[in-house]
Symmetry: C2
Subunit: 355 residues, 2 copies
């Protein structure tokens, strides 16, 4: 929870002009906007700053729930029953000029670092009680083309990587990476970085691994628990490299992850006092880095985009298929891929699959 | 978009007392609340109505974006720069009594059917411009225990169904269902229901199927496209029944679904003018009904909870594994399951897996 003392009022968005919606997600009530600020220098010359504004509606707060617990709270609309019908038609609003109203009744500046400013905003605001903020925002100003690309919707399409494509294109590409590219992983494995966050370690260089919290998790909310296991074996780049010999290691990862989630964070499984069934373990293909790691999510956390079929492979399914004799290098694997990703250009040097 | 004329002001939530949060999803900014209304009858006797209130924050509207396109709009806080620091601490709010304020500045009644009332609400509201609603709500009053169970968070745990569990428990359970249970599916296949919505049909009783929009899709937004293919073959209950003989049918489902998504809804794939790669096709195990059907989502739509690994199996992965000789009845399949589901009691008649 953000403390009130860190908030200061802010006109930091005044003059922001929306240029284009880069991306939005109606399910998450979030949007990434490209905008610009026009400014005039002392010598009278005009300049334009590009900016990216990332918005996300806030969730319902504890205070909101607490208010609803009191049946004697003030009635809706404070006794006033006849209200103007709300305007829900954008066309009408533009015609009668209401678009000149302030978009945000108030903006509160939470902090700033380099080009990033973190903000809370109220869309409407009563004088007596500001209440909860409606929107969390991050302003990036000035924004580079790299920022703009990062926050733009990518056209994602499904591709199907055959054993031949893997052998001929993907494997050589992965092998060409300099080791420095995953030095940060080795730093974790060698306890040079994040040593404090290690939740479990089995140090064997062949079958060992460490478990650390994923940086995207707040390390508190058990229902959204997200931790990661990283193996010590540096020969394993992805699930394509897994064989029957690795089933023991994979099973141990699952068992230890489940135990850690239970003992350290209280995530229970089937029964209150036991961990069984508490986590959903999966590998990504393609992963974001080519050193074998396993994602571990709370079993109930079904809305995490990283757990989507076509990128995520259930750890137990992989173990089972290995037991059934499936050769991971002989599978055709489907996944969604951004057409401006590096891997895309590796798979399709001519730009598209049909040429 | 809801038209203003259908909105009427409403005090329908006055007196609602929150009893318990049944479920909430911070990523989706949604919550299901159990509450009660106390009322006094004419004879002076008091009674309590149970109610379920389903809340979801609204997404950013077209009007909101349009306002941001005008850099000369009124500045934040209407020129007033010194604002009271917002209260973000629930404790403080309770201590100083602000919890007695109205929770909603205004509530608009969109319609009612039986026990269901659909509402829009404004958390704060300026007199001059009501602006966009902050919250969409559905009130169920009175709510039965079935309603309460339906909207309660289930403890979901991962279970691993072995070939033996399938043969001994699951298959007999599925075989015991009366055909009437999926009469609604047969009605669709026989054109008795939803005949207008059929997007494609291959009528062969062995290898045929129909494609229809999923009811959860608005049939407009291509980025969230969600359609379904239902096979004509009534012997196929789930992916456990699939063999090499079905690869042709599955491939045809994928090809036709991709074509329909492109031709009917304009969902392009890799290249603007072509469908290739535009959809993510998967089967559920377990499915919600035991007659083989394939889910078809826009490839970019990664945040759909139904596409989560551990329930969703990529159609192409299934075809590939069948080609590699994997026997679907011999796989151990992992999935998350609610501990108060019927299937749970079939798998674990004693209540839990370890007994």
């Amino acid at each position: 929870m953000v403390s009130a003392s860190s908030s200061t009022s802010s006109g930091v968005l005044d003059g922001f002009k929306l240029v284009r919606i880069l991306d939005q997600d109606p399910k998450h009530k979030s949007a990434n906007l490209l905008g610009e600020f026009a400014s005039t220098a002392n010598d009278g010359s005009a300049s334009i700053d590009q900016a990216v504004l990332i918005l996300e509606k806030t969730h319902f707060s504890e205070q909101f729930y607490r208010q609803l617990e009191d049946p004697n709270r003030a009635p809706t609309s404070d006794g006033e029953r006849t209200i103007k019908a709300p305007k829900l038609d954008a066309e009408a609003a533009v015609l009668d000029g209401t678009e000149r109203d302030a978009v945000f009744a108030a903006v509160s500046n939470l902090g700033q670092n380099d080009v990033y400013t973190w903000l809370l905003a109220w869309l409407q605001r009563s004088a007596s009680d500001p209440g909860d903020a409606d929107v969390k925002m991050t302003l990036i100003r000035p924004a580079t083309q790299t920022h703009i690309d990062k926050y733009s919707a990518q056209r994602r399409v499904m591709v199907y990587e055959t054993p031949e494509m893997y052998a001929r294109k993907v494997q050589p590409w992965i092998a060409s990476f300099p080791p420095s590219r995953i030095q940060w992983v080795y730093n974790i494995l060698e306890h040079k970085k994040e040593a404090d966050s290690i939740l479990f370690e089995h140090p064997d260089t062949e079958s060992g691994f460490i478990i650390v919290p994923d940086l995207k998790w707040d390390q508190k909310t058990t229902s959204s628990l997200y931790i990661q296991a990283i193996v010590h074996n540096r020969e394993l780049t992805s699930l394509r490299d897994l064989t029957k010999d690795h089933i023991g290691m994979l099973q141990n990862i699952k068992d230890q992850a489940s135990r850690v989630a239970f003992e350290r964070y209280g995530l229970a499984g089937v029964q209150e006092g036991k961990p069984d069934g508490n986590v959903r373990c999966f590998l990504h293909y393609h992963p974001s880095y080519y050193h074998l790691h396993v994602h571990i999510l709370a079993a109930s956390f079904t809305s995490h985009p990283g757990a989507v079929v076509g990128q995520a492979h259930l750890l137990d399914d992989v173990m089972d298929l290995l037991r059934l004799g499936v050769d991971m290098k002989q599978r055709t694997l489907g996944y969604s891929l951004g057409t401006n990703s590096k891997l895309w250009s590796v798979l399709y040097p001519d730009g598209n699959p049909s040429t």
